[in-house]
Structures are given as C-alpha cells and as structure tokens.
C-alpha cells in the first residue's frame, strides 16, 4: 500500500466539496456525518445538513464514503537536518513525511547547525516553506545564543521575522537566573517559551533509571530530573507571570506538578509525544537504539500517568518529536547512540490507539493534535470554522496495518514504533484547500466520486 505526494504550484481556487464524511470538530467536542465545502483555500461551510439532499451540482466534489475528515495535525516539535545535517533530513523530505502523516502545519526546532538564534534563519525557513509548498512550516527561535543557556537570544527581532515561540530544543536551561530572565524578557513580546524540563546535572545517563537499566547495565536518568525542573520552572513562572510550555512530559510526578500549577491559575501548558504514552522502558529491550530518546522511555506507571494526563487535560498537546538519525548515529553501542526517533508518519496512527482503547474520544484527540497547538502557538488552522484555512486530514480510523520502516518517506528510518501493528491511516492531507498527499486507496475513491 502506498500513496502520493502531490506537488502543485497553483493555490486552491474555486470550490471543492467533501461529502459523505464523518466530521471531527474538536472545538465543539463533536463528531458527526456531514459535508464540508472549501472555497479558495478556506473552509466556506460545513455541517451535518450541508448537501444533505445529495451531491452539489456543478461543484467539484469528493466522496469520502464515511471516512473521517478532521482539522489537519499541527505538530509543534519537529527537527530536521536542514541546515547542517541534510543527509539525515531536509526541510523538503520532512515536509513530504509530514504530508503523508496528515500534518498540515509543523514548527521546526532551532537546534540545527547553525542554530536558529538569528532572525535571518527564521526567514530562511519561511523562504524554504514557500518553495516547498507542502505542509506549512514555522520555526522556533532559540531562547539563548547558541542554545548554550547563557545569553538571551534576540527574541524580539526573531519574533518580528516570524518565530512563533522560543526554545533551546532538547537542551534544558540549567541556570535558574537565565530562565527567570528569559521568562521576564519574553513578556515584552507576549512570547511563548517552550522548555524541556530535565535537570542537566542528573541527565547524563542513557535510559531511565530503574530495573531495566540495572539489568542492562546502562547508566540511568532518574525521573526526578524532570519533576525537579518542572517545579523550578513553575516557581519562576509564578514570579515572572510569562507564558511557559513544558515539552515532552514523561513522568507521573511531572503530570501531578503541572496539574497543581494549572489549578493555581498559572499560564502553563505542556505536551508529550507518542513514545511516552505508547511505550515504556521495556522497548529499549535488547539495546534497541531506536528506543533511545530524550527524555528516556520511562516505567509503565509513568506511561499510565501520561495517558491519564491526556485524558484529564493536564497534557494539552501531543507532538511527534520527530528527530531523524542516520545509521551511523544509531548502529553503535547503546551508550554511544544519538537519541531521538522519527515520528511524523506515525503520529496519527499511534495516537489513535488512545481512541481505540477508549481513553480519548476522537474530538478530544484532535484537540490535542491540532486545535490546542494551533491556539497556543498562534497558528492559523487547527479548527473547523468558516473562514479558517482548509487545512484538513482525511483518515480511515479502522484501517489496520503494520508500521514498516521501509515504507517511510523520511530520509532516515529510526522509528521506535517499527513493526508495530496499528489501526488508522491517513487517506489524504489538504493544506489551504490543496490536496498535498493522497493514499492510493483514496485516490481511487475520489476519482470515482
């Protein structure tokens, strides 16, 4: 089974109707049978009664035959190798993989070579996005110069150039004073700071502390390293009154600490990535370096707490945390392997497990995958609304298949989910009304409509 990425120079114009669809409306927390009309790249109308009396005459219409139609995924944590390590992933190959994964907008992490700590690099990403014209691409600006956690980067100038938030990617800011000043400074621009809470002095190991690490003889990172930093950041946020988003929450204690902070009314949000609700440290198994991630895979009790956090809304966002690594980075002894896994093409199918397991409803899931990230990062899309950009995904929620790294569009194949059986598949991805990806199965359907 395969699909096609559709490159076209022309923007969407005229009208296209998607009929016989099962619409997912995360903002209204509803799903229902209906239709959706796109005009000139924007959602013109949608609802259960639209075209209820039959396919509209004279409008190009696509029969979804009961497939789901939802706002496209907004992925706020994507690393590519461009610039610096283009052999691992280019912006183009990442955009293709994102299109195949139902992702209509993605935010690129700044930890490239050179790092995005200067307005010209933010402009570079915007320029490449205009050339590639698939998934929408946005960029983070670095929080500190060179991601070194010492000097504040030019947040104001980068924000003017289009940076949507500021982060040092997978580098935690060790100095509380620097973090404090960053939170204060960002207030001048109402900028969002995204921070990976991992106390660096406790994070020198290669997997999570615990029985598995002990048996494997690998140095471990205690889960404590995360909650300590969460609690520090919460205190700093309380003092500064800025906007803070904590990335890749992976432990039970962190979820608890963030939940408490939220109940105290702080402007704090957080995300997690599929490995942390779908895998535990057993996935490291026989020294599988594809399971080496930052933060490391945790114990089963932590995984269950992440699922609970997603259910009760403590965790706002699910991102792919896409981080390509080539063979040279992964086919080495575990301790020497580079951390990270790709995730653009597995984000939706693995996340759908939460729905199949009855842990989240589909609208709730899409709130975490699309609506909440778009809102928090101030991006268009992420919702079914008249006048909103027609950034959509068509998917088959039942379709069962097995993830096979040979089928990835990404340049590298380092997925922790390789060979995992999943249920749910992207059938088409639509950006600004334009179909940028179409599965072969859906292509046939659409052609016969």
């Amino acid at each position: 089974m395969s699909g096609n990425v559709v490159r076209s120079a022309a923007p969407h114009s005229g009208s296209t109707a998607y009929i016989n669809a099962r619409l997912v409306d995360p903002a209204a927390n509803r799903e229902y049978d209906g239709a959706l009309l796109i005009s000139d790249g924007k959602i013109a109308d949608f609802g259960p009664n639209l075209f209820a009396s039959g396919a509209p005459f004279g409008i190009h219409s696509i029969d979804c035959r009961g497939l789901y139609l939802a706002p496209g995924l907004v992925d706020t944590r994507v690393h590519t190798g461009e610039p610096g390590e283009e052999h691992k992933e280019t912006l183009d190959s990442a955009a293709v993989a994102a299109a195949a994964g139902g992702i209509t907008s993605m935010v690129l992490l700044p930890d490239n070579e050179p790092p995005f700590d200067d307005a010209s690099l933010i402009e570079f990403v915007a320029r490449r996005a205009r050339q590639i014209r698939l998934t929408n691409m946005y960029a983070y600006g670095a929080l500190t110069v060179g991601l070194e956690g010492k000097e504040l980067a030019e947040m104001g100038l980068m924000a003017e150039a289009g940076a949507v938030a500021f982060t040092d990617a997978d580098h935690a800011v060790a100095s509380a004073q620097v973090m404090r000043r960053a939170l204060y400074y960002a207030k001048a621009f109402d900028a969002l700071i995204v921070h990976l809470p991992q106390e660096p002095s406790l994070s020198g190991g290669h997997m999570s502390n615990g029985e598995v690490a002990t048996r494997l003889g690998l140095a471990g990172n205690p889960p404590l390293a995360e909650v300590m930093m969460v609690e520090r950041d919460v205190r700093l946020l309380e003092m500064s009154g800025g906007r803070l988003h904590l990335a890749k929450i992976s432990t039970a204690e962190s979820v608890q600490a963030i939940s408490t902070a939220k109940s105290r009314g702080l402007k704090i949000t957080c995300d997690t990535a599929p490995p942390y609700f779908a895998l535990n440290d057993l996935a490291v198994g026989d020294y599988r370096t594809f399971g080496k991630l930052v933060p490391p895979l945790r114990a089963e009790k932590d995984r269950l707490a992440i699922v609970e956090g997603l259910k009760d809304g403590t965790i706002d966002i699910i991102c792919s945390d896409h981080r390509p690594q080539d063979q040279d980075s992964k086919r080495v002894p575990f301790a020497q392997a580079e951390p990270g896994g790709i995730g653009l093409e597995t984000l939706l199918p693995v996340s759908l497990e939460l729905v199949h397991n009855k842990q989240l409803g589909l609208p709730q899931l899409f709130h975490r995958l699309s609506t909440a990230p778009a809102q928090l990062f101030g991006l268009p899309g992420g919702k079914l609304a008249k006048g909103a950009p027609a950034d959509l995904v068509v998917f088959d929620v039942q379709h069962a298949w097995k993830i096979d790294r040979a089928d990835f569009w990404s340049k590298t194949k380092n997925s922790p989910f390789d060979e995992r059986p999943v249920q749910g598949r992207v059938m088409a991805t639509i950006v600004g009304g334009r179909t940028i990806y179409r599965d072969d199965a859906f292509a046939k359907e659409a052609a016969t409509a």
Partner: protein, 321 residues
C-alpha cells in the same frame, strides 16, 4: 541679609527625595532659579559659602556630577577638595566608616558622596557631624539629578503638576529613575516606567507608577520622555539580548517619539549611548531635546542645595525671599 523663614524642616543632609515635602522641593527649585542668571553672567562668583569646606568624596567614577558639584561650590566661594578614592586609603582596606570619620575630623561643612552601594551614603551620614549630600548611592537615589530634571521641566512647562512623564529603559539599576519617581509624584505628576521586563524591578507599581513593557503604549501621549542609560555589561545577553534588539524595541527614535505629545521634551541624565537607548537625531533635536539644558540646571540646583544646607548660620534650609 534677611532670610525669610519658610517653615521648612531643618535638613541636615540631602540623602534622597523620598520623604521630602512638596514645599521643600518647590523651595529648592525656587532657590535654583536665582542661580541660573548668575551662572549666565560674567561674574559667576558669590561669597555666600566663603570659609566653608566641601569635600567631594566619590567612590565611583564620575566626571559630570563631580564637576558640577565642584563648580557649584566654587561659585559660592567654598573651598572644595576632591577626594580621589583611587589613590586614597580606601584602596588600602580602610572601611567606609573609618574614611568618613577621618574626613569628619578635618571639620568640613559638607561632604558630597557617591558610592556604588545602595545605602552607603546614608550609613556615612550617621557617623559624621557635617552635612552629607548624596550624589548617587548604588541603585537607590540621586536626589540632585531629580531636582535638576524637575527644574528643567518646570522652566519649559511652567509646572510639574498634572504632567505625564515616561521614564524609559533600565529602571531596575537606575537611581535616577527612583529619585525621579519620588519627586515627580510628590509634585503631582504622573509617572510611567517603560522597559523590558528584565530591567523592571519587582513590584515597581507599588511605588505608584504605571508599568509598560513596550514603547508603543508607554510613550502614548506623554509630556516628557526621560531616557536612561543602559550599561554596556547589561546589553550582551544577560538582561537584553543585544544592542540592536534593544535599540529596535526600546531605543528612542523619531518613529517611537511620534506617539508622545507633539511638543514632548526629551531628557537624558547622560552620558548617552547613541544608537543604544537614543538615536543621535533625536538626542540632537534642538526643538525637543533638553539634554544640555539639564546639565546647566545641574549647577544651579547644586548651588541651591549647598546654600540651603550649609549657607545659613545654622545649616538650616531656607528659601530666599
């Protein structure tokens, strides 16, 4: 010479603006006015302080403030000694209080002190029995700067009452900002502080000011724009990312100045960092910038302070009728 008693409280020292009454401030400003013409005439010298000794004790480098105090005291006929702290026994490990008591034993009438630590001038004043004038202590107060700013504004606008003043830049580390906040509010002006949140001291709004993190909202409709100096060591990533970013968002240029009232005055305590907190064109705009006038008022204000503090027989403040 008959000196009219104004019923002002005896001021043995001038340590700060905080706590002064509007009458005292007005009295000092009125007194200063007398000296402006004197300073502009050929014969600038009076002998009001003849026989009095003023020591300028500067623990922190300063050219303009020290010179201004020196000129002021000399024009009133006082003997002025500049203590060069770099070569004094302070460098040999003498404590502040030992230095103070040593100088006190030489029977000066006033010591003008600048020190890099907040509160140091106050501490020194407790150990001497002459008048102490604060010429700037750490990040606390710089009262004569606030008085000269007030005199400049009052002469241009005719009043302080009801004016809207924006103090912009590094509020956190500025004694000038703190003294001005006190003085302007005592005199009935409204004060905004404008700057990046990293340079805004905690709970500054409790001092009665409006806090703005952007020049757009901060400068809107103000009568006076008071810029502060940004120290070089604070520009490189610690408090603000860079000079270019600071200038872009917090530097005063004609574009941002458009938001203020059309006749808004531009002030700066000096020395200026052109292209950091202020654009050269704005700083040199003869219609708007009163930066050089501030320096001139500085001498007059310091003469008035010296007269008020040590000019009378009993070292009491008083205003000339």
């Amino acid at each position: 010479m008959t000196r009219k008693r104004t019923g002002l409280p005896r001021l043995p020292h001038l340590l700060g603006i905080e706590g002064l009454s509007p009458e005292t401030i007005s009295g000092l400003l009125d007194l200063s006015e007398n000296y402006i013409d004197q300073n502009r005439s050929l014969d600038k010298r009076r002998d009001l302080l003849a026989g009095r000794t003023v020591i300028n004790l500067f623990f922190e480098n300063s050219t303009r403030t020290r010179t201004s105090f020196e000129v002021a005291a000399k024009r009133l006929g006082a003997d002025v000694i500049n203590m060069d702290v770099a070569t004094s026994s302070v460098r040999k490990g003498e404590t502040l209080l030992d230095t103070a008591m040593t100088l006190n034993a030489m029977r000066p009438d006033a010591i003008v002190v600048r020190h890099h630590e907040s509160g140091a001038v106050n501490l020194l004043s407790q150990k001497v029995n002459c008048t102490v004038i604060n010429a700037g202590d750490g990040q606390h107060e710089h009262p004569t700067q606030a008085l000269l700013d007030a005199l400049t504004i009052r002469r241009r606008r005719g009043r302080l009452q009801g004016l809207l003043v924006a103090i912009c830049g590094d509020i956190m580390h500025s004694r000038v900002a703190r003294s001005n906040i006190h003085l302007l509010q005592i005199m009935g002006a409204r004060v905004r502080v404008v700057g990046p949140p990293t340079l805004m001291p905690t709970d500054i709004e409790r001092m009665g000011v409006e806090v703005h993190y952007g020049m757009k909202s901060g400068l809107k409709d103000v009568d006076i724009v008071m810029m502060l100096r940004l120290q070089t060591e604070r520009m490189q990533g610690s408090f603000v990312p860079s000079i270019s970013e600071y200038f872009r968002f917090f530097g005063l240029d004609h574009e941002k100045l458009k938001l203020a009232k059309p006749d808004a005055l531009i002030m700066h305590p000096g020395p200026m960092n052109r292209g950091v907190e202020i654009d050269s064109e704005v700083a040199d705009d003869l219609d708007r910038s009163v930066i050089h006038e501030q320096v001139e008022m500085g001498v007059a204000v310091r003469m008035a302070c010296l007269e008020a503090l040590i000019g009378g027989r009993r070292n009491a403040i008083g205003a000339v009728a």
